[in-house]
Symmetry: C2
Subunit: 190 residues, 2 copies
Amino acid sequence: MAGDTRERIMESARLTVQDLGYGGLSFRELAKDVGIKSASIHYYFPTKGDLGEAILRRYVDRYAAFLDGLLDGLPGTGADRAALMGRYTDMFRSTLLNGNRLCLAGMLSAERNELPAGICAEIVRWGAMNEGWIARVLGLGGAGDREGLRSRAAALFAAVSGAQVVAHGRNDVAVYDDIIAAYRASGLVP
Amino acid sequence: MAGDTRERIMESARLTVQDLGYGGLSFRELAKDVGIKSASIHYYFPTKGDLGEAILRRYVDRYAAFLDGLLDGLPGTGADRAALMGRYTDMFRSTLLNGNRLCLAGMLSAERNELPAGICAEIVRWGAMNEGWIARVLGLGGAGDREGLRSRAAALFAAVSGAQVVAHGRNDVAVYDDIIAAYRASGLVP
DNA sequence: GGCTACCTACCTGACGGCAGGTAGACAATG
DNA sequence: CATTGTCTACCTGCCGTCAGGTAGGTAGCC
């Protein structure tokens, strides 16, 4: 199966980074999980940095496609803002449910000061993509100056990310749910 | 100087963890920074976990004292809620300014899945302490049911933490400032 | 005063283990 | 024959940790 091994390396690596962080990702454990020898990983990804960049790049791409898919064929009435944001917060919720994992980019954000530059660039792209999507959703209701939407979207993205980190630190999804509910009550999240 | 070496170990370790994380803290580098040999650290802290727990415990205690100090001798009119929250957000801001560091507990929150239990307990204490203080500040305005204050405080704590993580990931304090401003505009932060 | 005993605050030197990474052989496939 | 994918074997370097030693101070006792 061409490309299968590469696929399984990336999948396993992603799950590990979301669990233990980039520093907690080891080629030996990774190889054990995939069922090959650690040296073989270098065939696909010359260095650890290359692997990290590849999985984050694909992560951002996939979620961009997923989020865009949510907007497809939308009436644009703005009646669905709340529903869309519910889908958005559920996205972060599901990673917590999956072994108390953190969003890949969120985890790497924390580790930023010991990461290669290529990964940092992808972290920035993750933020811009999320904020862009949220701004579009917020704009569905109608007007709102573009700059206002943009800054509110950035706030919303940071708030949801923070809720995930805090809940992750306490290993308790209920904490996440409560915080999101409070965001909604305060009007920050539609 | 009795206790001086122990003090310097803890200070250097704390700064490193806020910079590179718990995984990025090495006894050899730490010893080099303090000016002793790495083995000597074990004289003060038997294991790495003990050191980590000690610095986080003190971190929580000190910020608890600092925040309580802000409330001392307050008129309680509630006119100062905004000012107090400004002091609070400035606290997180200053760690970003200091070498793009993260709040110690925030960093450890991300690494939670590979941390000894003693440290995890202190992370929980950090959250409870912050939420308790914020709830008190929010309550200064007057009424508000206790449960409502509590959940709003939890949201505010998570939001500010998230703003710090996102700004840290982009290595840009301006990002933090913009997000906090948007929180204020949305009414989440007084 | 002198001796013993214990303490603090480090040190030297090493241990086993794991990290990412490399060189080169080899079998399978086209 | 050439390419692809994986292997074995190994490298250097760092990791936390430990055993054991030592210089200097202090306290108690004859």
